[in-house]
């Protein structure tokens, strides 16, 4: 039953690959523009200095990390409603890309925090710590995926975990914010007044990363689908090959 399902999507997956191919030139242009914006167009930050130029790619990744994890939860709901394996491919692809972005956010955040706040890991900052918990949740999601054989059960369990993980995010955020306000605050949150040119640079970096996310999502979903089809066909041949 599920095999027909996967193979029905094959013609459509060609379309996605085509679209991701069309997106590539835009992606190149946008990334170059974002680099230009971050390094040349945006002014030097007065207090933090040159290091602040990490910020544009940092925020671009952060925004897409949330987008990716929202897509995991949404695809989970859609899977549970429609029971269509396609949505599991989307969730798997999105979780993986989300972890890539989250890793970038954590690493750049840490490198940024060291010279500015003189600490590699500002535990008291709710953004950093929430991102870390997010990262842990979605790595757990991938571990759950890899420890189950393909099949309806895996798709159901992963959908449930994806939904619960996403629902947890606002609660984690709240709890860490309260934790921080109670403990002595080492880190005053920066932000607030960004120069207009910095906002412009941000307005290029964020869409650039969003296009990157979409391209990767289309590509990875198609790959998951093709893998599923190859797996099913192999199995079918093996089964019918037996005398």
């Amino acid at each position: 039953m599920s095999s027909t399902n996967n193979q029905d999507f094959l013609p459509r997956s060609q379309k996605w690959l085509q679209i991701s191919g069309w997106l590539l030139p835009f992606l190149y242009v946008l990334i170059v523009a974002a680099l230009y914006g971050a390094f040349l167009y945006a002014p030097r930050e007065r207090v933090m200095g040159e290091v602040q130029r990490i910020f544009y790619f940092h925020l671009g990744s952060a925004w897409n990390c949330f987008l990716a994890f929202f897509a995991v939860a949404l695809a989970g709901v859609l899977y549970l409603v429609t029971r269509n394996e396609f949505w599991d491919h989307v969730a798997a692809a999105s979780a993986e890309i989300g972890i890539v972005f989250a890793t970038i956010v954590l690493a750049t955040g840490s490198i940024w925090a060291r010279p500015i706040w003189n600490t590699w890991w500002p535990w008291g900052d709710p953004r950093v710590t929430t991102m870390l918990v997010l990262w842990l949740i979605y790595v757990a999601y991938l571990i759950l995926r890899s420890s189950l054989p393909d099949g309806e059960k895996k798709f159901k369990l992963c959908a449930v975990f994806g939904i619960i993980g996403f629902l947890d995010v606002p609660i984690v955020w709240m709890s860490i914010r309260w934790w921080r306000t109670i403990h002595p605050v080492v880190i005053a949150s920066s932000g607030g007044g960004l120069a207009p040119k910095m906002v412009h640079a941000l307005m290029i970096a964020v869409p650039a990363f969003t296009v990157l996310y979409l391209t990767a999502l289309l590509l990875r979903t198609a790959m998951h689908l093709h893998q599923g089809v190859a797996r099913e066909l192999n199995q079918a041949v093996l089964e019918r090959g037996r005398p």
Partner: protein, 46 residues
Amino acid sequence: MNTYLFAGYVVVWTVLFLYLLFLNKRQRQIGEDLKSLSDAIRRRNK
């Protein structure tokens, strides 16, 4: 100060590049799956 900026962008590109390598590996696996599939079909039809 600028070392940190440099390190930050090195990390961004390294992570993205590693992900690309990973995708490439996966793509090759799919190719191998398909090849073994077509081999199996050919053998059966012989």
